[in-house]
Amino acid sequence: MAVSSKKIALDGVWYNNPIFRQVLGICSTLAVTNLVENTAVMCLGLIYTNAVSCFTASALRTVTPFRLRIISSTLIIAAYVIVLHNFLMAYLPDISAQLGPYVGLIITNCIVLGRVEAFAIQNKPFPALVDGVSSAIGYSMILLVISIVREGLGFGSIAGITIPFDFTKWTIMVMAPGAFFMLAIVVWIARWWGMRMEAQGEVKK
């Protein structure tokens, strides 16, 4: 199973994007995307957690008994998230206060366990690291797009900076339904685009 790092990275970011292909990590996509700032910190947290968890799980893959893989993966993920949470509380107390509950929720993010289970425990540490980082980036990309639209329409600002022209704010965009609509629209556009690219590729052959 020697797959090039570039292919793994492209897979994670686009062809096997965790949000619109694998439909993983939807809970946080719906929950944190009403403010760009919160979304950005959540994304950075996930990139870190996914990278180190995939790496560690992969490094331990040869000694991990098959029946104990989920319990040990969960343990690894939880430990790294607690470390992250402690660092945020110590060095970025303001952001930590804002994000409090979300950081802990990275533990339950399906993408982390999904990538560890689907990729890391069958591959060498370096490809696993690339896979972890790239699927987290794929996730972050979609989340940032959704959050920019939601904050823009819902609060009339982007990352806390007010949009210069005035319009009636779409309050529904900052509430849960707005997230469902935006997620569906983004998945639709991304898949349509992906299908178009595939069709063109076939014609060229």
């Binding site: 944190v32 008994p65 939880a78 470390v83 402690n86 509380m89 107390p93 994000l99 409090g100 609060f155």
Partner: protein
């Protein structure tokens, strides 16, 4: 054999990761605690209307607090008082708390020195929805409460109520759109707790504040 190997494996990695997390926790506990205390002090100074430069170090904040703020207890409840440069009582602050949408909301409310007007409000901890209920932390929302008239004391029926379409009087305020339950919780907490605080008006006035350290 496999069984023993499995148990041993879990034991080893659990031991290792528990060690990692508790190590990090031990290394950072002090700093986290200091951050926590600084945050509490900053909020107390802010609600009491004591100015401090935005980039103040924790030590500077602690120093201002020790010079300008005194605290004592009436029964179970804390009372804080701010004194001006000359040592005259400026404001009181009282802890308030109640139920929010997802968990308890705690805060501090400041009253002027004659206990007739609200002078400030801040929330010290809550778990309201970020982007919706958590907007009670925003300055515009908290600043609305400044100037609420409480001069009738605990006999007053309601101190705060939210109102559609702007203000009619100083006691009617804007709620947060999309956060009805949080807005109502804040309203109830203030109405209940202000009543309780003002019913102890005489006791509060009789508090014998220790004189502040001379500068």
């Amino acid at each position: 054999m496999v069984f023993i190997k499995n148990i041993l494996f879990i034991f080893v990695i659990a031991f290792f990761f528990a060690g990692l997390t508790s190590g990090v926790n031990m290394a950072l506990t002090k700093k986290i605690q200091l951050n926590e205390e600084t945050r509490t002090s900053r909020q107390l100074l802010e609600v009491l209307g004591i100015h401090f430069p935005p980039g103040s170090t924790p030590e500077a904040i602690r120093q201002i607090e020790s010079k300008r703020v005194q605290s004592t207890k009436i029964g179970q409840d804390y009372v804080y008082a701010a004194f001006d440069e000359k040592g005259a009582l400026e404001r009181y602050a009282f802890p308030i708390s109640g139920r929010g949408l997802w968990g308890p909301i705690q805060g501090l409310v400041a009253l002027n020195n004659s206990l007739s007007k609200v002078d400030g409000l801040i929330f010290t901890s809550h778990s309201e929805t970020p982007g919706l209920g958590a907007r009670i932390d925003e300055k515009w929302f908290r600043d609305q409460f400044k100037g609420i008239d409480v001069s009738k004391g605990s006999s007053q029926e309601k101190f705060v109520s939210f109102q559609l379409g702007g203000k009619e009087s100083s006691n009617r305020l804007d709620a947060i759109t999309g956060a009805t339950i949080t807005s109502n919780s804040v309203q109830n907490i203030l109405n209940n707790d202000l009543k309780a605080i003002l019913s102890e008006k005489d006791q509060i006035r009789r508090i014998d504040w220790p004189s502040l350290p001379k500068r």
